[in-house]
Symmetry: none
Subunit: 242 residues, 2 copies
């Protein structure tokens, strides 16, 4: 992920230091490191923010830029998204995080995601300075995202298709983890067939042939590894030792 | 979103009531209401959880089901995802939340997402009971998701593309051909565990725990049908009858 193109996180008039620190931790989960703060209620630096951030997230706070107004905080920004949960009277495009972050990844320039004060959210005056609104699709009966959670979701969505791609289900496999081959499956089937015949499992005689066939088919159908086959041989040997 | 098919959120041995309450709030943002709790450290009900949940999320706690073990908490579950950040030695498919939740939306049956204790995460014994692992792709230099945030991301991802699931082109399967659910897998594992213990299979003592774990994980990993499970129970009964 190109550091210079990642979206800037802008917190507008945040109230509690703990929330600023939590937001720093939240964004860093997804490699976002650039925070700007507009007119924080309790000034700056804020020891409660530092205490909450801790570790590498403390550096996010150290390098955060502080501005008196949102207008000034927009320096170097080409495209800004205002996050808001409530409907607004302003005529403005509204996007989901998925769409907005896909756009942000594709933009040539620099994007910013703007978050409002914890209790009241962004004012119309703030939103008017953004290009578009982003609204996280939430349960209308219980919209309770806090500031750090909103930052988290935007960071997650931004990194969703660029952070380490889905790990392949099997990286370098051990021999035991590789699939059993047909001969191994055949021998497993033979072993169970012999021992279960002796144990009287295929009973009554009228059903014996189809029971054997079903069992043989089962071994083939299961995605047994070489390790599994060895375990299943061992199980049978142990149970038939007496 | 069909209420009866939404994934169940399972918290395994959660420690702090505040985190349980926060998890209830987090999931309800995305309309998830079914929580199960395994062996909560501080018992149940938990006033700190209630205080944190508040409002409608309090009802999530009221209807949460409490279980002594993860095995029992899997009742009615067909497919389970274990969330974990760390690599594991078990052979298990690993998915991103995006893929896992797309699967969960498409499943015919009921899915569960399993979260571990806050400090230590899930044990191998827990993970062995899931079908697959889900790992949130995070900054490897700063993975700091807390319990509620992990629940939030999974809930968000589940609801992310809310479209009516594609009706599966689905032949009417016989009951025997349908996948065994988690409880059936658990009981099969128990049966083999008991009988093989009596037969002295888990030997030497130093390897017994990992042999049991690997076998438990094997039953979870194989795509056993209900018919397969019955056959495997029958095989074991027949062999241990004398």
């Amino acid at each position: 992920m190109q550091i210079e193109r990642q979206p800037v996180i802008i917190l507008v008039r945040p109230q509690m230091g703990e929330n600023i620190g939590a937001a720093a931790r939240a964004m860093l989960n997804f490699g976002l490191t650039e925070m700007r703060i507009v007119d924080p209620r309790d000034g700056w630096p804020n020891p409660k923010a530092v205490a909450m951030a801790s570790g590498a997230a403390g550096r996010v706070l150290d390098t955060a830029r502080i501005y008196p107004t949102l207008a000034e905080a927009m320096e170097g920004i080409d495209y800004a998204y205002a996050t808001t949960a409530r409907g607004r009277e302003l005529t403005k495009p509204v996007f989901t995080p998925a769409t907005a972050m896909a756009q942000a990844r594709a933009h040539q320039g620099r994007s910013a995601i703007i978050f409002g004060p914890e209790r009241t959210g962004l004012e119309n005056d703030d939103i008017a300075r953004a290009n578009a609104i982003v609204t996280v699709p939430v349960n209308p009966d219980f919209p309770s995202l806090n500031l750090a959670q909103a930052v988290l979701l935007m960071g997650y969505e931004y990194g969703r298709d660029i952070l380490p791609p889905e790990p392949a289900p099997h990286l370098r496999r051990s021999e035991a983890e590789s699939p059993a081959d047909r001969i191994e499956i055949e021998r497993l089937g033979d072993h169970y067939d012999e021992q279960l015949t002796q144990a009287g499992f295929f009973f009554p005689e009228t059903k014996a042939a189809s029971m054997r066939l079903n069992m043989r088919n089962m071994w083939s159908r299961l995605t047994l590894t070489k390790g599994d086959v060895r375990i299943l041989h061992g199980v049978l040997r142990q149970l038939t030792r007496r």
